[in-house]
């Protein structure tokens, strides 16, 4: 738990504090209680920019040996056991993104052999990557938000833990959320600053013991911000009339975002806004410092997961994405492995243990979020996690070089694994499913189906039936 989020006050008007439920001890797969009408479903897609084993390794430290329940946790997913969430997190292994040589037609949701620039498109959008680095369809979080998120304060959260790109190499894949707008498919730049995310979510909230003067002061701040944005918007409009067409288009995008912010501030409920039983107002987080290769992402991940937990608990948002690390990530993992090396470099180094610990770092934060959701009670007494569908997918798996069919390569989309958590839609929880040859995005599609979005995910219409039974 983040030190800054530690002390909490219950929201105004809420009688009780949500107590953590005792950790669920049952080792049998947990069947979520049937959907309770009126309790909303929540969706989160998360991503780690790395593969699952080093070059030459035939085995990874992620896929358990045991199929079904009571699966074993190797180093890569050991944090699931530590957090006590193996009974609510499923591991789906044996997944494959089809890869073909560049001169062959790309199959649906497939890629060519170019690894870093070709994987994330199909993971984020479920569609094949025809052009390097291109994402060509809306991402899962945005697809879900369109259906279940539009009435919320934040229709779709788009956040990233890795605070900087850290160097000029790499794929520059720093966005995982894409949505259709008037300008066509648009990348949604993720928010990185904990303070900015806190502001987005808890703008207008006040502690329950806030006196009328504090309420009036907060209302005055809202009025001031609105007057300012009104003035800025009017000036922007006036300026636009003096600009050439290209500049006018740029300014129009800026103005659209100003109007959007204005609308959000107008709709604020001063003094409250959350309505879940587990909804508490955290203190504003401190901003961790920014570095040239590491910006305390361990703490950032904790804070962002805390904020997402509360966004769900307070029903401020029902859909979102969290990019832990960029594809081909240049983040320095010294804090974890004890020597300075980027996450991507560790994939190239033949130390399976260190690489698996890096996988485990992502899993640790995912597991911590899952456990917080599990320990939060909904109004009807059910666990918040019973109404969630969360996934954690990684950039690659490991397997034979797709070009030669030989060797074992970290830059492969064979043997990928996706973690799935949550009981939304009555999902079975806590098993290891070996879904040989299925697409990793089929797991994400399963999560979309779990929250009631049964439209298919790009070119992926498949799902993981073992999770639905």
């Amino acid at each position: 738990m983040s030190p800054k989020l530690h002390r909490r006050t219950v929201l105004r008007g809420l009688a009780g504090i949500a107590l953590a439920l005792p950790a669920l001890e049952a080792m049998a797969p947990k069947r979520a209680r049937a959907d309770v009408p009126g309790i909303p479903k929540r969706f989160l897609a998360t991503f780690g920019g790395m593969s699952l084993a080093t070059n030459g390794e035939v085995e990874d430290q992620v896929a358990p040996d045991v199929i079904g329940t009571d699966y074993d946790c190797k180093l890569g997913i050991a944090p699931l056991a530590t957090a006590g969430v193996t009974d609510v997190v499923s591991v789906v292994s044996g997944l494959v993104i089809p890869a073909v040589p560049v001169d062959q037609p790309i199959p649906p949701a497939g890629r060519t052999v170019m690894f870093h620039s070709q994987c994330f498109g199909t993971l984020f959008s479920g569609t094949r990557t025809e052009v390097m680095k291109a994402v060509t369809a809306p991402s899962s979080d945005q697809r879900v938000a369109e259906v279940i998120g539009t009435d919320n304060k934040i229709p779709c959260m788009a956040y990233r833990v890795q605070a900087g790109h850290y160097g000029d190499g790499g794929s520059r894949c720093d966005v995982m959320s894409y949505k259709n707008t008037d300008q066509g498919l648009t990348p949604v730049t993720p928010k990185v600053s904990p303070g900015l995310i806190f502001q987005e979510l808890f703008d207008g909230f006040l502690p329950p013991d806030a006196d009328p003067a504090a309420l009036a002061a907060a209302e005055l701040v809202r009025q001031r911000r609105l007057s300012v944005l009104d003035l800025v918007g009017a000036k922007t409009e006036k300026l636009m009339s003096q600009l050439g067409s290209a500049d006018r288009m740029r300014m129009e995008q800026h103005l659209d975002q100003i109007r959007d912010l204005e609308t959000r501030i107008t709709n604020l409920t001063i003094g409250g806004g959350g309505n879940g039983a587990g909804c508490v107002l955290p203190e504003a987080p401190n901003e961790p410092g920014l570095g040239v290769a590491y910006s305390d992402e361990d703490l950032r991940a904790e804070i962002l997961c805390d904020l997402i937990h509360l966004a769900f608990a307070c029903d401020l948002s029902r859909a979102g994405s969290l990019m832990f690390t960029e594809a081909q990530s240049s983040m320095d993992m010294q804090f974890l492995v004890g020597y300075s090396r980027s996450l991507h470099d560790i994939s190239h180094h033949d130390n399976l243990e260190d690489l698996s610990r890096c996988v485990g770092w992502h899993v640790k934060h995912f597991a911590r979020l899952v456990s917080k959701l599990r320990d939060t009670q909904e109004i009807d007494g059910s666990s918040l996690l019973d109404h969630c569908a969360l996934t954690l997918c990684f950039e690659g798996g490991h397997g034979p070089d797709p070009q030669t069919g030989e060797g074992w390569d970290t830059h492969s989309t064979e043997n990928m694994a996706v973690l799935f958590a949550g009981g939304a839609g009555g999902m079975t929880q806590g098993r290891h499913v070996r879904a040989l040859g299925k697409h990793p995005s089929a797991v994400i599609n399963t999560a979309m189906r779990a929250v009631g979005v049964d439209t298919g995910f790009g070119e992926v219409t498949d799902w993981i039936p073992e999770l639905e039974t």
């Binding site: 160097g167 520059r172 800025v232 000036k235 300026l239 067409s245 290209a246 090396r341 180094h349």
Partner: protein, 542 residues
């Protein structure tokens, strides 16, 4: 001289013959700058189109430092990271996302709160002592003076009234400074603060070219030469010219620019241009080591460009370098005389000039070691502005190099197979020539696996010649036309904020260089640029 700049050098011919390497802006780059017989092109052909440019994170931080005395550099916390192509001010990469606009609001509120918490700074910015919460005279004077600095032009009466209107909140709150704070929120989110707006005065000939007004011109100068907003003196100069209904002429602009370069911000920007261009803007080293390296390179740049006022390419030839004792130890060079640091002769170390600095040698760092491929690409792309096509589509560049041998040389032989060697032979040798220097700039004789580097560090820039080590590379490049063209092109890219140079940009760079020989001075190049006939013009983007 014009012809020389337009001709293809021997080097270019070699590379084009190899089918591998072009130059930045090549497509029709050299067509825009006039006819073959050397007659000067009409200015319109040299006028670069330019779009609205948002302040980069770096420029935002500099601007609030200079306007408000806030040196906390908060922008990176709130604004999305700027793309580097290699410069961080490439407006074609800027998008107005919710993250940006929400971030700009949070940043404005953060900056304003910090100002109000510091009465001395606050009073200096406000400039008057209010007689009460709604002292409209003080409010007006603050809005007029600070508004002019924030928007980089005087406000209209209507604008002043609209900002003073925000002091109604001061009355509600019973606190004048609530009005100040609200006004700061508004000005720091104003499109004319966040973006550099250049509307100008349309030329009468319908060519789509506009002449910047005097305020826009001094802003263009200050963001180029200082990376920050124009100060009161520049704005006063612009205002006097506006009142007199005339444009500042080339001589006045040049005189202003000479004074601006003498300001410490001129030296800061000198470093920043080189750091972004040459790839050492961020050094992934221990902070103390990185700071010493920055000091070393900044000292050299300032000495060559400002103190000695020598030829720019002396930065590649310098026979001594500015070291702190710990950096000297890091490099294995003799310590400086002073504990504060000092100039140390390179002697017989094989080092000379900036390419021997830890800053430049960070280029091509890959894994825990250096990559001769990326080092070679840095020489050709960054220093010589050559464009290298991506690897053939059937090559998976993500594959690790596999070899039975642990030696780096043997592993990199994979890049010299059939189908690879055509291009790789054009840049690998330039990287290998630097192989005896690790990514922290330390000299070594063996690769990390312990294999002797030996003859493998006999490097080459095909078309220019062979070299061994950064000192000899500097000597090889210093007299090269390609290097000077690259300097000119990069400077114009930095000035226009366009990552992909237009033909006009390349032509402008060629015209600037045409009047100068290989001994050109960087300060004179800057002065030529800002006082060139085209600097005060802008072509509207379609």
């Amino acid at each position: 001289m014009q012809d020389r700049s337009l001709s293809m050098t021997a080097l270019t011919t070699v590379l084009v013959a190899a089918g591998c390497i072009g130059h930045i802006g090549d497509r029709d780059a050299f067509d825009g700058s006039g006819s073959e017989d050397g007659t000067p092109p009409p200015p319109a052909d040299l006028v670069a189109s330019a779009g609205l440019r948002r302040l980069s994170i770096h420029e935002y931080d500099n601007t609030i430092r200079d306007l408000l005395g806030d040196d906390t550099r908060p922008a990176a916390t709130y604004l999305p990271e700027d793309a580097r192509t290699p410069f961080d001010n490439d407006y074609t990469k800027q998008t107005a996302s919710a993250a940006l606009v929400d971030g700009a609001e949070a940043l404005a509120m953060d900056v304003a709160a910090r100002l109000l918490a510091d009465p001395a700074r606050r009073d200096a910015v406000v400039g008057c002592t209010p007689s009460g919460p709604e002292d409209s005279a003080c409010a007006t004077s603050f809005v007029e003076s600070f508004g002019r600095r924030a928007l980089r032009r005087p406000l209209t009466d209507e604008e002043v009234a609209s900002y003073v209107g925000l002091f109604g909140f001061a009355g509600q709150a019973g606190d004048f400074y609530v009005g100040v704070e609200t006004t700061l929120w508004a000005l720091l989110q104003d499109p004319e603060f966040l973006y550099r707006v250049e509307i100008g005065r349309p030329a009468t000939d319908g060519s789509g070219v506009v002449r910047l007004d005097n305020f826009e011109l001094v802003s263009r100068m200050s963001y180029l030469l200082w990376g920050s907003a124009p100060d009161d003196r520049l704005l006063d100069t612009a205002e006097e010219a506006e009142i007199a209904s005339r444009d500042l002429d080339a001589e006045e602009v040049r005189t202003l620019a000479v004074e601006m370069l003498a300001d410490p911000r001129g030296a800061e920007q000198l470093y920043r241009f080189h750091a972004l261009w040459l790839g050492f803007d961020e050094l992934p080293h221990d902070p103390a080591l990185a700071a010493d390296m920055r000091l070393e390179t900044a000292a050299l740049l300032e000495r060559v460009v400002f103190e000695d006022a020598g030829p720019w390419n002396d930065i590649l030839l310098a026979e001594e370098t500015f070291l702190t004792p710990s950096l000297a130890e890091h490099y294995g060079l003799p310590p400086p005389a002073s504990a504060e640091g000092g100039w140390v002769p390179y002697g017989t170390s094989g080092r000379r000039g900036l390419l021997s600095h830890g800053t430049f040698l960070v280029n091509g760092g890959k894994f825990e070691d250096t990559s001769p491929v990326f080092r070679g690409l840095a020489v050709r792309q960054r220093l010589l502005c050559q464009t290298i096509p991506p690897p053939p589509a059937n090559v998976n560049i993500d594959d690790a190099l596999m070899s039975e041998s642990p030696c780096k040389w043997d592993q990199y032989l994979a890049t010299l197979q059939d189908g690879c060697i055509g291009c790789h032979s054009q840049f690998n040798p330039a990287g290998w020539g630097l192989e005896e220097y690790d990514k922290q700039g330390r000299f070594r004789t063996a690769d990390p696996a312990g294999c002797e580097i030996g003859e493998h560090a006999n490097g080459e820039v095909p078309g220019l010649g062979s070299f061994r080590g950064p000192g000899e590379l500097g000597a090889l490049l210093a007299p090269s036309d390609d290097l000077l063209h690259c300097l000119g092109t990069q400077l114009v890219r930095f000035a226009t904020g366009r990552g992909e140079p237009a033909p006009e940009d390349v032509a402008l760079a060629a015209a600037l260089l045409a009047d100068r020989g290989a001994d050109l001075r960087f300060d004179e190049l800057l002065l030529d640029l800002v006082s060139s006939p085209t600097f005060a013009f802008r072509k509207l983007e379609e």
